[in-house]
């Protein structure tokens, strides 16, 4: 067995170690690789920028732990942006696996920026029946969410006193790992003309581009790359940009392995041919 053949039959555990290092190193020591922003993400950013201070934004956490690595970074970036712009945030959850995540994120970010519960943001918790909930918000928030997550009647929450339905909300952003954006488009946008943006996983993003063309979504944040772009736009690097470093490195590593494997394969083939001749 020559060196090329040995390389072709390398113990795959070496590959595993390199993949792990390719993720761990940038997480601990971010490389800060350049990320260029794209129009779909810029549009979400601009939609938030355009709102007058004090206009409530609804952020719906419609995902569960399985897609959390991709969706939490963008949720955090959007929350930071809203708080920085003085836009009160209403947080809802349509996915049964989401409340814990949403609570943790809203707690952390509100402490970080010093947002006051009930005035700068409110957490309404999870409600069963995605489409029905989206529809009923169009009639009246107080019907679909009589109390917040902590069982405080929302009539007693200063922020919610000003909000009746979509008419009082500047922008809805749904963060979703499944088909929730479809329901938001069909019921909040189509029925009530609500301005809508979405954050989805990288794999889903392609499916939602058509909604951008038709204007049913004002913007779209796709996967860690989208989160990284948003972090760049608000100038607050975090998990998105760090994760993007790791993703880039692993991508390039996989491509490199394919190339090296094929070069070695070529040499082995040539050696075999020579032997045969």
């Amino acid at each position: 067995m020559n060196v090329y053949e040995k390389f072709l039959h390398i113990d795959r555990r070496y590959i595993f170690i390199l993949v792990a290092l390719g993720v761990i190193i940038p997480l601990v020591w971010p490389l800060g690789l350049a990320v260029t922003t794209s129009p779909p993400v810029e549009n979400v950013y601009n939609a938030v920028e355009e709102l007058a201070p004090g206009t409530p934004v609804l952020v719906s956490v419609d995902y569960d732990p399985s897609t959390q690595p991709e969706l939490s970074p963008m949720t955090i970036a959007v929350l930071r942006h809203c708080f920085a712009r003085d836009l009160p945030v209403i947080i809802t959850v349509l996915h049964p696996g989401g409340p814990g995540l949403a609570l943790e994120i809203s707690d952390r970010i509100s402490k970080e920026v010093g947002a006051v519960y009930g005035e700068d943001y409110v957490f309404l918790g999870y409600k069963v029946g995605s489409s029905a909930v989206i529809l009923s918000i169009g009639q009246d928030f107080h019907v679909s969410f009589p109390a917040d997550y902590f069982n405080t009647p929302i009539d007693e929450i200063p922020l919610m006193k000003k909000v009746k339905n979509y008419n009082d909300i500047g922008l809805v952003i749904t963060m979703s790992g499944s088909t929730y954006p479809d329901a938001w488009v069909a019921f909040a946008h189509e029925r009530y003309g609500q301005k809508l943006a979405a954050g989805v996983t990288a794999v889903m993003a392609a499916d939602y581009y058509p909604y951008l063309q038709t204007g049913q979504l004002v913007g779209l944040i796709g996967g860690l790359k989208g989160a990284a772009e948003y972090e760049k736009l608000i100038n607050r690097p975090d998990d998105g940009l760090k994760g993007m470093d790791a993703q880039t490195i692993v991508h390039l590593f996989v491509v490199l392995m394919i190339l090296l494997g094929n070069i070695a394969f070529l040499f082995v083939q040539r050696a075999k041919k020579r032997e045969a001749a």
Binding site: R12, V19, L33, T36, S66, M244, M257, N262
Partner: protein, 207 residues
């Protein structure tokens, strides 16, 4: 009773659910909504059999001290933990059952899932070899799309991500649609054979 009746039930249900699709009326909608729930309830009853089977196998392993029987005790412990917490304290957000789910089941499931990152690298290295023209096409398409999805615009320009997107949107979609139409026909044909009782292996044997 043993073979004809189940076949007849299968036939009738198949026809009803096919026809139901075309009827928007309230009654038809009611049937559809309920049917899905009913079928999962039937499945839940079957789960008693499934879990019973699992428990039986592990108890046997422990009884006969078969290889790895100690781990069977772990499995039995896991089942009991879920069932006892779930039926004892319910499934509200902070119940012991959900704690078990969030800190035991979810982390392990997510970790299993994340093994894919490693396997994708090893599979790419092991199998992406330009042996034939077809294999080369697969390899080249994969590399282009992979490179198109990392932020390299500054270095190689927009054309790479654009080309990646074009491959995904056209040749890739064409292949997918072709496969899907074939699958549609194969699935309809199989379903039809089951409804008509031509395909009846699900009945098993005996009389």
């Amino acid at each position: 009773m043993r073979r004809e009746l189940p076949l007849a039930i299968c036939f009738i249900m198949g026809i009803i659910m096919t026809v139901q699709f075309f009827i928007p009326h309230r009654h038809s909608q009611w049937l559809f909504d309920n049917m899905l729930k009913w079928l999962i309830i039937v499945l839940t009853f079957a789960m008693i059999l499934g879990i019973g089977n699992l428990v039986k196998l592990h108890i046997q392993k422990v009884q006969h001290r078969r290889r790895d029987w100690l781990y069977s005790i772990v499995a039995l412990f896991g089942i009991s933990a879920s069932l006892i917490t779930g039926f004892g304290w319910g499934i509200e957000a902070d119940s012991p059952f959900m704690v078990l789910f969030n800190y035991v089941q979810i982390p392990m499931q997510a970790t299993m899932f994340s093994l894919l990152a490693f396997y994708i690298a090893s599979a790419a290295f092991r199998t992406f070899r330009a042996r034939t023209v077809e294999a080369t096409l697969l390899l080249v398409a994969a590399v282009i799309v992979m490179l198109g999805r990392v932020p390299l615009e500054g270095i190689v320009g927009r054309w790479l991500p654009d080309l990646a997107e074009w491959i995904l949107d056209y040749p890739n979609m064409a292949a997918k649609r072709g496969i899907m139409i074939g699958i549609g026909l194969g699935a309809i044909s199989t379903a039809l054979k089951i409804i008509l009782g031509i395909e009846r292996s699900w009945l098993g044997g005996g009389d």
